[in-house]
Symmetry: C2
Subunit: 480 residues, 2 copies
């Protein structure tokens, strides 16, 4: 793999997109003119003006970085997307498939036949093939595996055996190794002999006869040290390293903390098995944070902006179903107090405020707890202090906003006891919210789910139901 | 700046944390024993056993990477944090201050006197000083600036003049330049003469006599090409580059797309003024996504897990105040239908379901739109299609979930017209939700605010109020 950005022209991708859209529009104009005049289509295909725009478009696409083509494909509606996809040179298909989002990838793969897919995938590195494989038809994967030599097949199989959120799932096999007992001079000559280094190479991996990692040799050090020095004397002998089974999120934190560009991956016997690079880590971090955002809104996976209504709706159903269930339970709590509401309809108007403020406040707590857990900032020793702090904040906020709402209620309804009930319910529900926001994430973690996803549902469920119960219950006891 | 990870021992940071906490606990035990026995404190300070744990702790801290010390400081409650901070060697203060979160940084700076602060900051690179300066007392910054030579002072001032979310705010001044007309041999000799290269150096910047950027020379290429070749022949002459005023988020996207490690920053005359590195970009991406998460929950800034209740409460007030206002408006909508609710209290129990489902569905739409806007995937040409799709999904989901709730309502209350009203209101409110989720982000963007923050409030406000209005209004017309 070469680094295409080093060799290709660079202009803002938005400009490229505009040019592509312009060419597409002109192409469509010709098509529609033809359509209106009922010119036979086969003549059209031959017509010069028609071809011209597509030729220009193809040329334009050839100059673009695969990531930029991917971006353009993602912004285009299905029909135009397929037109552009057909114009992309076949030998770039693989790289582009790697860059597009999962949803768009699916639409592109669906438009290719098996032969094209095998050819596209075969042009990739083994770790990239493994990334692509789960989205490919089974017979394509089989054919692909047959076409690889044994070493590469073993790499793909090993990559596929690791979880995609583990270091093994992210690592590549593209590294340069060197022995500790040679001089820098020899090492430099060896590099020149290789004639090309893998992307992102910032260090060589120093291994012994059995392939065990003994250190790393940053290129920077090679360049500034005396060529007669031995690798052993210049290398770093306790580098940051990873194991294939390490969670990718741990590796991402280490890359951030120690400002790494590449890092070796070793097995239990300390044998070098792969390499992590910062670009993959960057993609991982970005996709994790995007997934968190989508999950917070209850979207199970990334949605192509142009997928079918049916598919998109299904993507959103789980969340809506869960929320319908929790809302139904909360509704039954209100139902239990229908007698009170009949007597004092103001309760119905006020109860959403109590529930809503609890939900907002509880989600503030749970967001901080989820983040603290993710960063490893919360442990046995400080957990109690954090809970105490959250309860303190709830008490303070409950007094402040409870009083405000108490006064507002009194002003609206001229009913002082109702104002008092409002204030008390608000205060109590904020305390409930602090407890819910604090305990919900740990409960979700213990159940083995992603706390970012479940915490909001669970917290809101508790603050809604309890908010209704506390407010309507208090009102029934005090006022009626 | 050296890369400390290359020279320091590496063990999981959680292990280090446990050791530190253990030493702290043993230290505290001695203190409390002394306290109980009322031994005079000055004797204690002299006592061997007391000192011993602190000496051990100091040693331990000395072996840790600044980022690991920062992590430990963040997990410790205020008192222990200050104890550990005092033990950290003064010459590492600056690096550690850069690594901790804003909230924790504040607590550490508050514990230092001006002399210490000037010394800590003076040990940093100029771009790092600029990062720290906004958090330092004004007189410290003045003294610090006086202590710098003119070139460095100019760099700090220029860094400070850029927005912290712009390329200028993230760039450093740590790069190696070379002329195009020398041979690689000469370039390599020059590097050896430098004896150390800036962190992350993966390429040299090729400039002409006037400091204008003419290309970049990747170290990788230097190593594999013939030493007699000229830089001009080997360099990449159209590299990805940035301007100081470019938004940092654009640069982050480019780093992701083109897998960059470093990139040159040039002014309007193409003169080289700085350098962006992937570690800074990584930190930017992480902190942006964290901020988005915190903002979604209405937390204005990062909260130290141990800040005072008062400060934390203030951090959360704006959000709660905004939500109280919107909840009050929604409550007045319900208030307008109090007459209907008195007659049929079931309405009060059912109305939160209509509002809640609208809110959830609307936020799914707005999350996708916010994301599409952030990634530049939505433009004039495809906007209408996206809206049509969202309305289609709302129609489908409205039919499905509206029917479900209509049936459930009928089963619960044995009231068929009420079930019909429920179904219709749900359907209508999901359409409202699609419109709100689609238009809210663009409105917020146009008002110059962060769409991730305001979209949820605005969408929920609309779906709540309209949900109540549609359901109660329909019920009043149809049923009463």
């Amino acid at each position: 793999m070469t680094d295409p950005h080093e060799t290709q022209a660079h202009e803002p991708v938005e400009d490229s997109l505009r040019q592509v859209m312009d060419l597409l529009a002109r192409h469509k104009l010709v098509e529609s003119l033809v359509h209106k005049q009922a010119m036979p289509r086969h003549e059209l295909v031959e017509s010069l003006v028609h071809k011209q725009h597509l030729v220009e478009l193809t040329k334009k696409l050839d100059t673009l970085h695969p990531a930029d083509v991917a971006y353009i494909l993602e912004t285009l509606p299905l029909e135009e997307r397929m037109l552009v996809w057909d114009l992309v040179k076949a030998d770039r298909d693989g790289d582009i498939l790697l860059e597009v989002s999962d949803a768009v990838r699916e639409s592109l793969i669906a438009a290719m036949d098996n032969r094209e897919l095998v050819a596209a995938a075969a042009s990739l590195d083994t770790d990239e093939i493994a990334d692509l494989a789960p989205d490919l038809p089974k017979d394509v994967v089989q054919e692909l595996m047959k076409s690889l030599d044994q070493a590469k097949r073993a790499q793909v199989e090993s990559s596929l055996s690791y979880d995609e959120d583990s270091v093994g799932g992210l690592m590549d096999y593209d590294f340069v190794t060197i022995r500790a007992d040679v001089t820098l001079e020899v090492a430099l000559r060896y590099l020149r002999f290789l004639s090309e280094l893998p992307p992102h190479t910032d260090k060589l991996f120093v291994v012994d006869r059995d392939g065990r990692l003994t250190g790393t040799l940053p290129l920077k050090r090679m360049l500034v040290h005396d060529p007669d020095a031995h690798v052993a004397a210049v290398m770093s002998d306790d580098p940051v390293l990873f194991h294939p089974s390490d969670p990718a999120s741990d590796a991402a934190q280490a890359f951030e903390r120690y400002d790494l560009v590449t890092a070796p991956v070793v097995d239990a016997q300390n044998r070098l098995v792969g390499r992590l690079t910062v670009d993959v880590v960057l993609d991982f971090i970005r996709s994790e944070s995007e997934q968190d955002m989508l999950q917070l809104a209850g979207l199970q996976e990334d949605e192509d902006l142009f997928t079918t209504v049916w598919k998109a709706a299904k993507n959103r159903w789980l969340w809506l179903a869960i929320n319908l269930c929790t809302a139904l339970v909360a509704s039954r709590v209100v139902g239990a107090f229908e007698g009170s509401i009949e007597k004092l309809a103001a309760l119905a108007a006020l109860m959403p405020i109590v529930a809503g403020m609890g939900g907002n406040s509880g989600n503030q707590t749970s967001t901080l707890v989820v983040r603290g857990l993710a960063l490893g900032l919360i442990n046995k020793d400080n957990a109690k202090r954090i809970l105490t702090k959250e309860l303190g904040i709830a008490l303070l906020n409950g007094s402040v906003w409870g009083s405000v709402m108490g006064v507002v209620t009194y002003l609206l309804y001229g009913n002082a006891p109702l104002g008092g009930v409002m204030a008390a319910a608000m205060m109590l529900n904020l305390l409930v919210a602090a407890l819910a926001g604090y305990f919900a994430p740990s409960l979700i973690v213990r159940s083995g789910r992603d706390p970012a996803f479940g915490s909001a549902v669970l917290t809101t469920f508790i603050t809604d139901s309890m908010g209704f119960f506390i407010f309507l219950g208090l009102a029934t006891v005090v006022l009626l």
